[in-house]
Symmetry: C2
Subunit: 224 residues, 2 copies
């Protein structure tokens, strides 16, 4: 129950971690072990620990390290949700983070915790998430799509080395629509010449001809 004399809010970091499974965008959910909402699926999250965390970003990193067997290479604050009624334990604040994981680490990441963790298509969720997490997930999706619409490159969702076709496909998966190849390649040249580095001497053999491999330039930022 919400306590009308509560002096301090509860503060949580919640994370919408996106990657790609079966050529479709997926988000990581956790099954809640404890009340409130025991048994329901939610975004991974945890309470701020002032004696442990150096900032809220650190809270989010600690939450992910506690759930996943891999380090998450990208974490960005999206917004807060707050109020007296969103968590029955009291007046609470969630600071929402958007995180990205390379598609080749999806299965490694959850290890043997598949009873407590699952990757789901955010557009095919069969039930509302715990708390207001369905709305938080929508806000994280909006942020991710808005950045890719503004031509930010979600390189953190790709393997370390990738082809430009894979890069185009990951943008299409995020945006939910096909992109014109020549327009996409021209934008890459115009906007991202500094962000992409050819990996010398390494080619993968495609159906028609060998394709050049690329990697993110040092200091690359997911900014549009």
């Amino acid at each position: 129950m919400s306590n009308p004399r509560q002096l301090y809010p509860l503060v949580f970091a919640d994370v919408a971690l996106f990657s790609v499974v079966d050529d479709r965008l997926h988000v990581l959910l956790v099954r809640r072990a404890e009340a409130p909402h025991a048994g329901q699926w939610a975004l991974p999250g945890g309470i701020l620990k002032p004696d442990v965390d150096k900032d809220l970003h650190g809270t989010a990193q600690r939450v992910l390290r506690g759930k996943l067997a891999v380090d998450v290479p990208y974490l960005e604050e999206v917004c807060t949700a707050s109020g007296p009624h969103r968590d029955e334990r009291g007046w609470s604040i969630s600071v929402l983070y958007l995180a990205l994981l390379p598609m080749d680490q999806v299965h490694v990441a959850v290890g043997n915790k598949i009873d407590a963790l699952k990757w789901v298509d955010p557009f095919a969720a069969d039930a509302p998430l715990a708390f207001d997490h369905s709305e938080l997930l929508r806000k994280a999706m909006d942020r991710l799509r808005a950045k890719v619409e503004r031509h930010a490159l979600p390189l953190h969702m790709l393997p370390q080395k990738f082809t430009l076709s894979q890069l185009q496909r990951i943008c299409e998966i995020v945006l939910g629509r096909d992109l014109d190849k020549s327009v996409f390649r021209r934008r890459l040249k115009e906007l991202h010449a500094q962000n992409l580095v050819e990996v010398n001497g390494e080619m993968v053999r495609g159906v028609q001809r060998p394709a050049q491999l690329w990697r993110a330039a040092d200091g690359f930022k997911f900014i549009g």
Copy 2:
């Protein structure tokens, strides 16, 4: 002093309120009456009151209502700042808001509190602000400029009725550079036909010819 056994963080809403004075961008500062940083200038802010505030946005609105004689028409969350050392009273979180005020309300807003409130050019600040507020101000500026770069219209900084020349000028003031008139007018037509409404029968006499007055369409949003 920071308390290593502190269980709950202190939570504040801090607001960067922008408007225009003498044809230049200005931000509102408050002189702190109490420790820490007594006598120093800071962004207006206040502590979250769980027994009063319906959410953090409500905290920010309450803070502004306590300082200003007018209602602020636009308030948007920017980001959080957090950690054990940014406020000597303990582990703290500031939720930063960006707010806009019409230029014709700048002087009404502060009333007779000019010893405790001042509008300053954010680029000509003569001393660092209290806490990490200089950095928060920079982040709010970055957000404001990024939105106007993406062609969001800062109509909330204009009088209720305005000319398209005034609109171009407010964008130039925010961006800190001149804009080409024909490009600006074409973008208005392409992107903002729905957002601007001609005010019938009202014209202001300019130097050369009467200029049409406009207002924001109902439901207008400051989105690029």
